[in-house]
């Protein structure tokens, strides 16, 4: 998982796990777009992200799958 920090700024600093959605938002929606021979279109990405955003339960499932996946390696 990402080891970036997410901090709530306030009276005191708290460090929490960065949400998967926050990370997916970065990876899927941003970053330099260079035309590869196969490139996911912006419209596709939007649909994917809206889908992921709506299906929070699926994303949580994905998180579990991911965790299991990474720990078995």
């Amino acid at each position: 998982m990402s080891d970036f920090d997410q901090m709530i700024v306030g009276e005191e600093w708290e460090s929490t796990d960065l949400s998967l959605l926050e990370t997916l938002d970065h990876v899927l929606n941003r970053g330099l777009v260079i035309a590869g021979e196969i490139t996911i279109s912006v419209a596709d990405i939007d649909l994917i992200f809206v889908g992921l955003n709506v299906m929070v339960s699926s994303v949580e499932t994905a998180k579990d799958v991911l965790r299991k996946h990474e720990t078995t390696e």
């Binding site: 901090m7 926050e22 590869g36 990405i45 799958v65």
Partner: protein
């Protein structure tokens, strides 16, 4: 594996790539392949082979609708880029940039070398920090008469007015609460943007795809700031200061990062 294609994660300088042997790097997007640097002169792209069938246009669209499939790969993409970004100046590519042949990656590095090198120069020594602004509407609403200058003034005048006038002023205060709360949020968000802009080299206001209600209230704005590593303390202090200043209005700031500079490398849209 049968036919293969190249998935590209990010671009760095060849000198930096030479310091990051592929054996030390995180896992590639697909288990079966290892990461590799593809260098052309001063630039190097970090890539790995993927099965062409899985990543073909029609199959990819299908896989992407599977949240688990996408999330695992997006996180691996992120882990790889993050690893390099901590050790070198890097241009993160968006998820899903695929070349059918190695020569295609080399061609791209060579064709775009000038633009890519200039982007790397702009990003050198800098990181991206995210700032999310949350507001608890109930808290803001309950304190709006002290947060809003207009209402503060009305409350003060109502206190000194005759009972009849005071009654009318109270009516007006109640009527203005909702609008003033909305205006206060906008004003605070603008102020946060302005103040943090002063502490950073570049700013992006990001769209909010869904209004998320969390324990911190509703997400009202999302920003990305390009911050010099050397200037992060000042940036964080400014964020801290703003958080304290607006806490009374039910506003909370969330700082995320450091991110690879995902939001500050556009301008190469072909």
């Amino acid at each position: 594996m049968s036919e293969l294609a190249y998935y590209v994660y990010c671009i760095a300088e060849s000198t930096a790539a030479a310091q990051l042997p592929v054996d030390s790097l995180p896992v590639a997007i697909e288990d079966a392949s290892k990461l590799e640097w593809i260098s052309v002169n001063a630039l190097a792209a970090l890539a790995s082979q993927v099965p062409r069938a899985t990543y073909s246009e029609e199959n990819l669209a299908e896989h992407l609708t599977d949240a688990s499939w996408t999330a695992i790969r997006a996180m691996r993409h992120e882990t790889v880029v993050e690893y390099v970004a901590k050790r070198a100046t890097v241009i993160p590519l968006r998820f899903g940039t695929i070349y059918l042949e190695r020569a295609g990656v080399e061609q791209m590095l060579s064709d775009k070398s000038r633009e890519l090198e200039s982007i790397i120069e702009q990003l050198r020594g800098r990181e991206e920090w995210g700032v999310n602004v949350h507001c608890d509407p109930a808290v803001l609403f309950s304190r709006i008469t002290s947060v809003s200058p207009v209402l503060r003034d009305l409350v003060e005048r109502a206190g000194q007015a005759s009972p009849g006038q005071s009654y009318l002023m109270q009516k007006k205060i109640e009527a203005l609460r909702v609008d003033e709360a909305r205006a206060a949020v906008n004003r605070i968000v603008d102020q946060i943007e302005d103040k943090l802009k002063e502490q950073s080299d570049d700013t992006r206001r990001l769209r909010i795809l869904k209004v998320e209600t969390t324990e911190d209230g509703e997400l009202k704005a999302k920003f990305a700031f390009l911050v010099k590593r050397a200037g992060f303390e000042e940036f964080r202090d400014a964020a801290e200061h703003l958080a304290q200043e607006h806490q009374n209005a039910g506003v909370r700031l969330e700082l995320t990062g450091p991110w690879p500079v995902y939001n500050f490398c556009e301008g190469l849209q072909n």
